[in-house]
């Protein structure tokens, strides 16, 4: 650390605690309280990176989130490294490692810098124009461009850090803890409003925190001392929550805001462990007060991008807050009064100020007078026409401006310096206001966009609302806050405020130089290297919309989103195009205001919490018995149960054979179950299903098909009549929630006259399906007192029963074509009953099977699975299920659509069976079906929807949808695959037991 760059009498930095860190491999030291930026500057390091296009050396320019140049890679760990981090926002901690980005092999010697000498060859949109042709070469170009651009490295391993989310509801959210935000938060909290104040810095106070200047006093004390007491008084307010190190990322409609709190980034590496690194606050505020302040603008002049050229107010913060001198011989260049505050601060800290170059003719505000009294030299009506020094500025060239400011005249004065502060005035931070949908207005007098109209309950106060002087800030903030909160707070009524007033204003967006414009390098977007020339070129090439100019020149599109220089780009466009800035408008400010880590966005939803998982009551048994699981919607379903060394194919073949040869059992608990009660329950079912329900006897079950109004199959399942006015409907696993919602929709909106109540009871019951020729014998063992004779308990009927005194419902229904039963018992006993059935079935080799075998067994019978064999474009007629459409019913959902001109076409795709010529050949699901192989282009007639090798038929079977398939039975078709063509024949979709003998076997 260069001792002579630190001043010692500093309040904010703990100079007794030394911290070591590494920058570009070199060990350096700073103090507790430093940012990486202030520590680097104290070590006399300005050069920290290279620009994107020309690889020009770039240094630290600012002290906050607007920093365009000084972005680094933090850390080197493959899972924790973070690119594109601004050094101005990194708090120094023991063990910090940072490296420069966008330079190779090193920041001091960068091969890409050769681009700088070729820069006339790299105008705006150079990459677009050059590398986009021929189009298929892009792959080649991209590799080299990306390599040389080197925009930081993404971590290659999963992030080990912990992130979380928190919802927060408050009456008032104050964004920004500067002087106006502090006063507003205090006012709100004192008036019993639940208030939250957030600020992205380590401590509250904004720039007033270190404003100790005779020209800015409140009640006869320095403004910083007055504010310090105000901040202290906040501690006693119960209604106030203060969150520092918290930056607002996004402001959405309905006062919904996202803020990112940094919790551990400032801690030493060993203290970070097992703590939440960042928390994303999801804030819903009744009222929002934006007090985000303003950003200093740079000035746009020739070679304005050298390391050592910094914002004037940042130089002030480094000296007044961090106690760091940004140079020993500092020059300042300005168009307004604020640079004089910097000059005075530097002077008071013993830093030599060469001169202030001011483009204005002359001004006599208090602060300028104070500077003059201190002996600071001022070049009035002058501009800097050039700067020198490659890796750091070493001199500037000054000339007089003409009266109209369009050119420079007279003698060129050269001034030696090691740092140049620039100030082009102030830009209110209206980003959040516009993100929230607010409209801006333009104030001509000092060229600022200000908040105008908003639909939301919010206000902007302080300098983000265009008040730049202390007395205006305080008076207007108080008035606006009181009115906005509808309170009468007189704490700030009789403040005596001294504030220097700016009396003269002058602005030149693009400062002239003695060089031709085309030869000069006036940088606008420092990170993306776009210059005033690029903007002018874009306008010459015919771009008019600012959104287009932005994208063409990439101005404002870097990671800093052009916070510093967007205004100048607009100014230059307006000037060149001859329109008013207010009419031109701004580009759209989009969230996030500052970049968010993916970790903060994702929060805890990583690993096992990536998505919700649902488990059946029998889940643990499947795990204990080594099932493989399949995700069905959010459910974890047993897929198949491999025995030792068994492949999936082998397991499924074994399970399928066992289910037909003797007995199989399936956990069907995931099926949706809806309890239907009410005097109109039967009528309701008549309206929602395609078939008739009125005559279904109590104790009987019926399969139903549900359509959308467009006639397409939506869901299916078996519904059982439990009582006169009581049914239980089952839905598909994936469709459960949607079906219930759809049925509620019809009941509430179309048929409110129906007396029907729906209650989801999906999780109330475990559903155990036992199928196969021995299923009856097994069930008799499990429920001995139940009469299972075909006469008493035929197919498609239901019985109440009990197992060890626990009641259950038993349905004799089948999705496999086998004689089978479904036991529905309350979930708490599901696993126990499953185990009981398994025990009872052991002598019959009962085989638990998973979803894959279930799919295979039903395909053998040609039963559809909605969502697999249907895709929202299949009518029941397309499925060749005409039998399920009631001809007698006047109406049901989707009925009218079944005879629209489109749905009655013969050549619609229809569900058919496919048999392969080679019975061993199993088709791929999704494979296309054609009738010719040599024709190009060939018409795709349909595709395979389900395909299996059937162990029970010992051949490959498939279901498919084929254009006009109904009339093509027996026809040969082709399934062209990558390496071969498979010959198939269209068949009936029922492959096994066409006359349903097995159901009663």
């Amino acid at each position: 650390m260069s001792k002579d760059l630190r001043i010692t009498n500093n309040k904010f930095i703990d100079q007794t605690t030394r911290i070591s860190f590494k920058f570009d491999g070199k060990t350096l030291y700073g103090f507790k309280g430093d940012t990486l930026a202030s520590a680097l500057l104290a070590n006399n390091i300005h050069l920290v990176g290279r620009s994107f296009k020309y690889h020009r050396p770039r240094g630290i320019m600012a002290c906050g989130s607007e920093e365009p140049n000084a972005i680094v890679q933090v850390g080197s760990d493959a899972s924790m490294t973070e690119p594109n981090t601004r050094v101005t926002e990194i708090e120094l901690y023991e063990g910090l490692e940072a490296t420069s980005q966008n330079c190779w092999p090193s920041v001091n010697f960068d091969i890409g810098a050769i681009n700088n000498f070729f820069s006339p060859l790299i105008p705006a949109a150079f990459y677009y124009k050059t590398f986009m042709w021929p189009a298929n070469f892009w792959k080649l170009y991209e590799y080299f461009i990306r390599k040389s651009a080197g925009l930081g490295k993404s971590p290659t391993k999963p992030d080990k850090d912990i992130y979380d989310h928190r919802y927060l509801h408050c009456d008032v959210l104050v964004v920004g803890g500067g002087i106006s935000g502090i006063m507003a938060a205090k006012t709100a909290a004192k008036n019993n409003l639940n208030t939250v104040l957030i600020d992205d810095k380590i401590n509250l106070g904004g720039t007033t925190l270190f404003q100790q200047n005779e020209c800015f006093k409140i009640n006869n004390t320095y403004s910083n001392e007055w504010l310090k007491k105000e901040i202290e008084s906040l501690n006693s307010l119960k209604n106030l929550t203060i969150k520092t190190r918290t930056s607002l990322a996004a402001y959405h409609s309905y006062n919904y805001l996202l803020a990112r709190e940094n919790l551990t980034d400032h801690l030493d590496i060993n203290e970070k462990k097992d703590k939440v690194r960042q928390r994303l606050w999801k804030i819903r505020a009744k009222k929002v007060i934006i007090s985000t302040g303003a950003m200093e603008r740079p000035l746009i002049f020739n070679n304005n991008d050298r390391p050592g050229i910094m914002l004037s107010s940042s130089i002030k913060k480094y000296i007044d807050y961090y106690g760091v001198k940004c140079g020993q011989k500092i020059s300042l260049f300005t168009n307004n009064d604020s640079a004089y505050e910097t000059a005075i601060s530097l002077n008071n800290s013993g830093v030599n100020v060469n001169s202030v170059i001011d483009i204005r003719d002359k001004t006599n505000s208090i602060i300028v007078k104070q500077a003059e009294e201190l002996g600071i030299k001022i070049h009035w009506k002058s501009s800097i026409v050039n700067t020198n020094g490659y890796k750091k500025i070493n001199s500037i060239e000054i000339m007089k401006l003409t009266d109209d400011g369009a050119a420079v005249v007279g003698e060129k004065i050269k001034e030696q310096c090691d740092c140049l502060g620039i100030s082009g005035g102030w830009t209110p931070r209206v980003h959040l206001f516009t993100q929230s949908g607010g409209k801006l207005k333009f104030r001509d007098e000092d060229n600022v966009f200000l908040p105008d109209k908003s639909e939301l309950d919010q206000i902007s106060i302080g300098s983000c609302n265009g008040d730049f002087e202390l007395d205006d800030v305080i008076k207007n903030s108080v008035t606006l806050t009181n009115k906005f909160l509808n309170v009468d707070n007189n704490d700030y009524e009789n403040l005596e405020i001294i504030s220097s007033k700016e009396t003269t204003k002058k602005n030149i967006w693009l400062l002239p130089s003695d060089k031709l414009l085309s030869k000069a390098k006036q940088f606008l977007d420092f990170q993306n290297d776009s210059t005033a020339n690029d903007i002018k070129l874009a306008l010459r090439e015919g771009f008019k919309s600012i959104e287009h100019v932005k994208r063409y020149t990439t101005t404002g599109m870097a990671t800093d989103q052009g916070k510093l220089s967007n205004m100048h780009a607009l100014g230059i466009i307006a000037e060149t195009a001859g329109v008013k800035m207010g009419e031109l408008g701004t580009t759209t400010f989009r969230p996030p205001y500052t970049p968010l880590t993916f970790g903060a966005i994702v929060g805890r939803n990583v690993g096992e919490f990536f998505d919700i998982t649902r488990k059946t009551p029998i889940h643990d048994w499947h795990v204990e018995n080594k099932a493989e699981f399949e995700n069905v919607g959010q459910w974890k379903r047993a897929w198949y149960y491999p025995k030792k060394n068994e492949s999936m194919h082998d397991a499924v073949q074994r399970e399928s054979k066992a289910a037909r040869d003797s007995a199989g059992m399936l956990d069907a608990s995931t099926l949706g179950k809806i309890d239907i009660q009410g005097t109109d329950a039967s009528e309701f079912l008549n309206r929602v299903y395609t078939n008739a329900w009125s005559k279904l006897e109590i104790g009987k079950c019926r399969y139903g098909l549900m359509l959308n109004e467009d006639g397409m199959v939506y869901d299916d399942g078996v519904t059982t009549r439990l009582g006169e006015n009581h049914y239980i409907m089952t839905t598909t696993t994936g469709g459960a929630a949607n079906v219930l919602s759809k049925l509620e929709d019809y009941l509430q909106t179309e048929w409110p006259e129906l007396d029907v109540y729906l209650t989801s009871v999906t999780d109330q019951f475990a559903t155990i399906s036992i199928c196969g020729p021995n299923s009856k014998k097994i069930l008799t063992k499990v429920i001995p007192d139940l009469d299972l004779s075909d006469k008493e308990f035929p197919h498609m009927s239901f019985k109440n029963a009990s197992i060890n005194n626990i009641k259950c419902r038993v349905m004799r229904i089948s999705f496999t074509g086998e004689h089978s039963y479904e036991i529905n018992i309350q979930s708490s006993f599901g696993k126990s009953v499953w185990e009981k059935c398994f025990e009872a079935g052991k002598e019959f080799n009962i085989t638990p099977y998973g979803t894959e075998t279930m799919h295979l067994l039903r395909a053998e019978k040609g039963f559809i699975i909605t969502g697999q064999d249907t895709d929202g474009t299949m009518t029941p007629v397309d499925l060749q299920m005409d039998w399920i459409i009631s001809k007698k019913k006047y109406d049901f959902i989707g009925k009218r659509s079944l005879y629209r001109s489109d749905t009655i076409r013969d050549d619609r795709k229809q569900l058919v069976g496919l048999i392969t010529e080679d019975p061993k050949e199993v088709l791929e699901e999704g494979a296309q079906i054609v009738s010719e192989i040599n024709k190009k282009p060939v018409e795709m007639l349909g595709h395979v929807t389900s395909s299996y090798f059937s162990p029970n038929l010992n051949k490959s079977i498939a279901l498919a949808v084929v254009k006009n398939g109904k009339n093509l039975k027996g026809h040969k078709m082709f399934v062209p695959m990558k390496n071969k063509t498979i010959n198939v024949t269209i068949t009936d979709s029922v492959f096994l037991d066409k006359d349903n003998k097995r159901l009663n076997a």
Binding site: H252, N255, E455, T749, D891, S897
Partner: protein, 91 residues
């Protein structure tokens, strides 16, 4: 993320709701009497207005009730919510 005032439960976060498209499209009582074109009008045609739009919403993760909403689609401002069967409070 909207804040929606469910007519039954009060103000809730938008994530508790699902949207159900344009409101006040009555399902024809006698669909069989309609021509293909008339049925298509009911089935497919929606206004999709930029500006004030009448919409159906359901408090899916709350009381499961459907209700209507008047929303300005140009700025997402919700002007009113009202129960099914009630007349829109504004035109």
């Amino acid at each position: 993320m909207f804040l929606i005032n469910c007519p039954y439960c009060g103000e809730r976060d938008q994530s508790e709701f699902t949207a159900g498209g344009e409101a006040h499209i009555v399902r024809p009582k006698q669909p069989t009497e309609l021509s293909d074109d008339q049925w298509a009008e009911f089935l497919f045609m929606r206004k999709n207005i930029k500006g004030i739009q009448f919409e159906r919403w359901s408090h899916a993760h709350g009381c499961r009730k459907w209700f209507n909403m008047v929303r300005d689609t140009s700025n997402d401002k919700i002007h009113a919510v009202y129960k099914m069967g009630e007349k829109p409070p504004i035109k």
